[in-house]
Amino acid sequence: MWHTYLRPKTVEEALQMLAEAGEAAVLIAGGTDLMLDLQQGRHPPVQALVDITEIPELRALEIRGDELFVGAGVPLNRVAASPLVREHAMALAEATSQMAGYQIRNVATLGGNVAHALPAADGAIALLALDARAEVASPHGRRRVPLADLYLGPGRSALKHEEMLVGFWLPLTRQKAASAFRRVMRPQGVALPILNTAVWLAREGDRIAQIRIAVGPFGPVPRRATAAESVLCGHAPDEATLNAAVEALLREARFRTSRYRATETYRRHLAGILLRETVGKAWQRAGGE
């Protein structure tokens, strides 16, 4: 267990602490993944925790220019309740309001959800469909990367030890565009979704002009269902197109059977259902009513 608990007030300070302490230090945000990993021996021992929840920059949630910035350290309850998020990123509001329980959401963050790198993390899946760019700070400076570039494998983030997430940049909504999120849980066993789906789309008349679909777990790392996206793009979401989209999604996805949780067959079955539901919901929302 850790001996030192550091509480930087700026990103730069945090980076410096990480650099000085080396591998023995890790970042802690809400701690809702990390504390359990430490307490249950799933995480290699650490010497120091670097608490990033007091860095104002990471707690910001605001419109900046023509983008919505959601700090990596904003508690999920604040994300879920934010009128800005509801307006510009409904899928994220829906995802964050369903994650875990109320007390956990008071401390858990999107940064932690993304950095923990589970293939079906609800927040990450919503961010992916919303085309979020992650702002990464490293000793060499800041950069913005597409979310999908942050993953190496299940539970393995591509972030380097001395790097951190500052926040997520989301495009503002435009007319006739909307998003939706839905997940299916299993009443027994761990509180991770069997399958979740987030969709963002823009309408043009009765056609889908643009669409992004994220499904978790789609494969070892969170990734968009691009084949299904291309089937839907430019078409009306009618029965035939949706069928073709589901087919494309199933061809591309690498669903697995997770023991005691769900079979691959069930996941394939749900994938079609969730795709139809979320596309339908986003389509309706984008109707402009």
């Binding site: 802690i28 307490q39 008071n106 401390v107 009443p187």
Partner: protein, 939 residues
């Protein structure tokens, strides 16, 4: 070591923090604020909820350092001390009045979460409460009362009026006190965080213990090296089997469970203890335990009863692997099947289940200066703990003193020895107090479970639905040790033909040792399993015969004059038909024109389909089967004028203390406040027997009542002489004894008695009516409780998701002693039954526990709780205390089959395996083959 300063309940504290310390540790173990509970240490249960800077957080995963500079609010601060008065917060007041606290272990967390909710939202709707309290688990299932209490408190906070009390009808047989709703005597302590559970105790110089467990399901212990553990700084003692001073085994019925497995001996399950450690801190003890090296020669794992009964299976115990073959014979089943127009046969399976009481096991053993051993523990059978601890120390029983503590739930899971013996051995060895607290994983791995079963049912009936024969074959996985396995599987077997009068019955049950965790008592005591099988079968039969499922049950239901499968003629208190009729009427009223058992698509969402399902049940009260069923109670008039009832029976949260209080008060003729109850103390309370088999209301209730009666008559006759008033002119009043015209107040009565050299105290042993062993016919039990239930489900046919919307439940309780506590038992029973059907699945694979965290073993939370419509049916038992009989178990029994029957009616999928696997409900049912195992395979 870092130093932090935080404000807790308004007071600043500066503390040095140890590595890994959490806010919960600081509050509980540094500041002694033990109202904050730890149920899981996994962020799953919400028991540790506190407010930090006004936001509800889980203190068990909140690093202590993060609280530096912050302000923390805990349960201890909600009530206010004003002048000399203690004023409860409206939430606390409402929780007390609504019966929203049962065992109370979840209560501080519930109240703190609700407090945070009301701060943000003064006028919450039920949905808001479910949203915010989503992860505040209550194993007692008090959710409906919690919701009502929060709404009442919100009203109070908005209006300044006191919280509106619940409306709970009195019993039809109510007396002055008995039969009227009463708040539980311990409620105020529980809502304020003052109630003391075992882990809340601290003794000077106390050590902490940890157990090195086998973690291997089957093998021979070849070598055990404790040297590294001994060498660790802070370790005071390490004990192995070689250090045992006396008994080597323990067990509630059969001493077959090693206290510690010795080198060369057999390991029979993953939870077997190999060594125990006492150290200065819990962390050191745990580290030391992990440093103990064990070399275990693995043996093939007997993973289920069939494997264990195979001819070449190695015997796990000297007696072999068959613990017991239990037989029930009535009439001639072959004749019965020959007479039948329809015969159906099917096999059902149920998995293990865990009690998952929110308070993990804890024991503190304290050596006393006069050479005795005190053991502080929440136990369902204090006198049996005393026997077993004494045997382990090699002492006479009187040298051991079990001091029962407030218990955070038991449900049958705190009948066996957990840490009592280990703590006592280490305390004996070190001469210092020793606390052994299980963490959640240890609790899930070590203590006995509900038996996993496989049950084949063959049922025969006439065309009109009259049953002609039922034959059952049960296999019960009793795991590594006997525990109460034989008794549990006997109940499963004797109840396996359902609550029906069947002329020909044959049941054979095999309770089998395996390398799985032991199985023992669990609310329902085996009947949960066999009821699922037979009540599923009854619905299959109704369909085959084209009969209404309720009508089929009505036709065969046990009634006065019926003979049970064991040959008992029921003479009174059989309210089953009334239960069936009233549930039926309510369901039909709620359904209006529609057939409740036909599928109804939800308007606008045709992929969601609703339907009702029905089930009935019975469950014995009391040990029965020829076992002497006695309880001794003592009642004393204390100098301050209060009557004290003393009995060792256990209060697990179920409300026994209030039952005893009311029964004694009614008998004496005083108000409830005129009686207080002391339980679970082997020095101060006489033996009430085990708290199991729904026996306490009846057996201990009668003992308390009779002791009270004898005491009152002693007071009368003594004072008659003293004051020269004929005894028939002496009447107890709430304030005292009325001697003719003159009122002698209770304190004066006590003083008079003492002055006359007569202690105002009576001890009375109540012997329950004699019962007959299985196989001899006659009365196997002195009473039975009955229930009928209907559940309405909604199945999402696209995803397979199931939601229980409403449950109508009627239960024959004899007579309601405390209608408020009864409501809690009914709601809690239904909630637990929903867990059995939908959320709980204790998975053991090849002897290894897969579900070894609360995160993997899910109990029902707010979101699973339906509207529960309770119907209390009262068919009094003439020998029961004021007509009462047990209710602790019956309600949870029929819930699972009512739900699976409803699912069948909704989507045509027959589930023959618990729990419901939603995946199986998405497969389109094939015409004519509507039977699915929940695993998704077609049968």
């Amino acid at each position: 070591m870092p130093t932090i300063t935080l404000t807790v309940n308004g007071t600043p504290h500066t503390l040095t923090i140890d590595p890994g310390e959490t806010l919960a540790d600081v509050l509980r173990y540094r500041l002694g604020l033990t109202g904050t509970k730890i149920g899981c240490q996994e962020g799953e249960c919400g028991a540790c909820t506190v407010e930090v800077n006004g936001e509800a957080v889980l203190s068990c995963i909140y690093p202590a350092e993060r609280a530096d500079g912050k302000s923390v609010l805990t349960i201890e601060r909600l009530a206010q001390q004003r002048d000399h008065e203690f004023i409860l917060h409206p939430l606390q007041e409402a929780f007390v009045e609504h019966g929203a606290t049962q065992c109370g272990f979840c209560t501080p967390g519930q109240i703190m979460a609700a407090h945070a909710l009301l701060e943000h939202n003064p006028d919450p709707q039920p949905e808001d409460i479910h949203h915010v309290l989503k992860d505040n688990l209550c194993r007692c299932g008090a959710y409906p009362a919690i919701e009502d209490a929060i709404l009442a408190a919100a009203h109070s906070l908005r209006t300044g009026e006191p919280p509106p009390p619940p409306e709970i009808p009195a019993s039809a047989y109510a007396g002055k006190v008995v039969g009227r709703p009463h708040i539980r005597p311990d409620a105020v302590d529980k809502v304020t965080g003052r109630a003391r559970y075992t882990d809340d105790l601290v003794f000077p110089d106390m050590l902490h213990a940890a157990v090195r467990r086998a973690e291997v399901p089957h093998g021979i212990l070849r070598r055990l090296d404790v040297s590294k553990a001994r060498a660790l700084k802070g370790v005071v003692a390490v004990m192995t089997a070689a250090d045992l001073p006396a008994a080597r085994n323990h067990g509630v019925l059969i001493d077959d469970w090693p206290i510690l497995v010795g080198v060369g001996e057999r390991i029979r399950y993953v939870g077997d203890a190999l060594a125990i450690v006492a150290a200065e801190t819990r962390a050191i003890a745990q580290e030391a335990a992990s440093l103990i090296e064990a070399e275990i020669e693995p043996l093939p794992v007997l993973a289920d009863p069939l494997a264990a009964l195979a001819p070449d299976a190695p015997p796990l115990h000297p007696s072999g692997n068959l613990l017991k073959h239990i037989k029930v014979r009535k009439g001639d089943v072959e004749r019965g099947f020959a007479e039948a127009d329809v015969v159906l046969e099917h096999t059902f399976t149920t998995p293990h289940y865990d009690h998952a009481f929110l308070e993990p096991e804890a024991s503190v053993a304290v050596p006393t200066e006069d050479g005795r051993m005190e053991v502080y523990v929440g136990s369902q059978i204090p006198y049996d703990d005393r026997r077993q601890v004494a045997a382990a120390l090699g002492w006479p029983e009187e040298r051991v003193h079990i001091v029962g503590q407030t218990m955070g739930g038991g449900f049958g899971g705190k009948e066996d020895i957990a840490g009592q013996i280990h703590a006592a051995l280490l305390a004996w060895k070190t001469g210092r107090p020793v606390k052994l607290l299980y963490d959640r994983r240890e609790s899930l791995i070590a203590h006995p479970k509900r038996h996993a079963t496989q049950i084949r049912v063959r049922i025969g009936a006439k065309r009109d639905g009259r049953l002609t024969a039922v034959q059952t074959e049960l296999y019960g996985d009793t795991g590594a040790y006997a525990s109460l396995g034989e008794k549990v599987m006997t109940r499963a077997t004797t109840h396996s033909a359902g609550p029906y009068d069947v002329p020909h019955v044959r049941a054979d049950c095999y309770a089998v040792y395996t390398n799985n965790p032991p199985a023992g008592a669990f609310r329902g005591f085996g009947v949960t399993q066999s009821n699922f099988a037979v009540e599923s079968m009854m619905d299959m039969l109704a369909e085959r015969l084209g009969l209404d499922p309720v009508e089929l049950r009505r036709k065969n239901a046990l009634r006065v004059g019926s003979t049970t499968s064991t040959g008992q003629v029921l003479r009174e208190s059989v309210g089953l038909l009334e239960c069936i009729d009233r549930v039926d009427a309510e369901v039909r009223r709620l359904s209006g024109e529609a057939d409740p058992f036909a599928p109804r698509p939800v308007p606008g969402e045709p992929h969601k389909v609703r339907a009702w399902g029905f089930a009935a049940a019975f469950k014995n009260t009391g040990l029965g089967g020829g076992a002497p069923d006695d309880a001794t109670a003592e009642v004393e008039l204390l100098p301050e004028g209060v009557f004290e009832v003393r009995i060792s029976s256990a209060e697990l949260g179920q409300g026994l203390v209030s039952v005893l209080q009311l029964v004694a008060a009614e008998e004496i003729g005083v108000d409830a406040e005129g009686v207080r109850v002391l339980v679970m103390d082997t020095d101060r309370t006489p033996d009430g027997g085990p708290t199991t088999a729904s026996r306490q209301t009846y057996v201990s209730g009668n003992a308390a009542r009779m002791a009270a009666r004898v005491l009152v008559s002693a007071l009368r006759s003594t004072l008659a002489e003293r004051y020269d008033v004929p005894p028939d002119q002496i009447w107890p009043q709430p304030e005292g004894l009325l001697l003719g015209e003159r009122l002698l107040r209770w304190p004066e009565v006590a003083a008079e008695m003492h002055a006359l050299g007569r202690e105002p105290r009576v001890r009375y042993t109540y012997h329950a009516p004699e019962t007959k062993p299985l196989g001899e016919g006659g009365d196997m039990h002195f009473a039975y409780a009955f229930a009928a239930q209907a559940a309405e489900v909604e199945v999402n046919t696209l995803t397979g998701e199931v939601k229980v919307l409403r449950v109508v439940t009627a239960v024959d309780v004899g007579a309601a002693i405390n209608p408020l506590a009864l409501k809690g038992q009914i709601e809690g029973g239904v909630v637990m039954g929903i867990g059995t059907a939908l959320t709980e699945h204790f998975i053991v694979e090849e002897g290894r526990v897969v579900t070894d965290r609360l995160a993997r073993y899910r109990m029902p939370a707010f979101e699973q709780v339906p509207e529960i419509i309770p119907i209390v049916v009262e068919h009094p038992v003439s020998t029961g205390p004021f007509g009462g009989k047990g209710v602790g178990e019956i309600v949870s029994v029929p819930t699972a089959p009512a739900i699976t029957n409803a699912i069948y009616h909704a989507v045509g999928v027959r589930l023959d395996r618990l729990p419901v696997e939603q995946e199986a409900l998405t497969l389109p049912p094939r015409a004519g083959a509507k039977l699915f195992s929940s695993g998704g395979t077609r049968v």
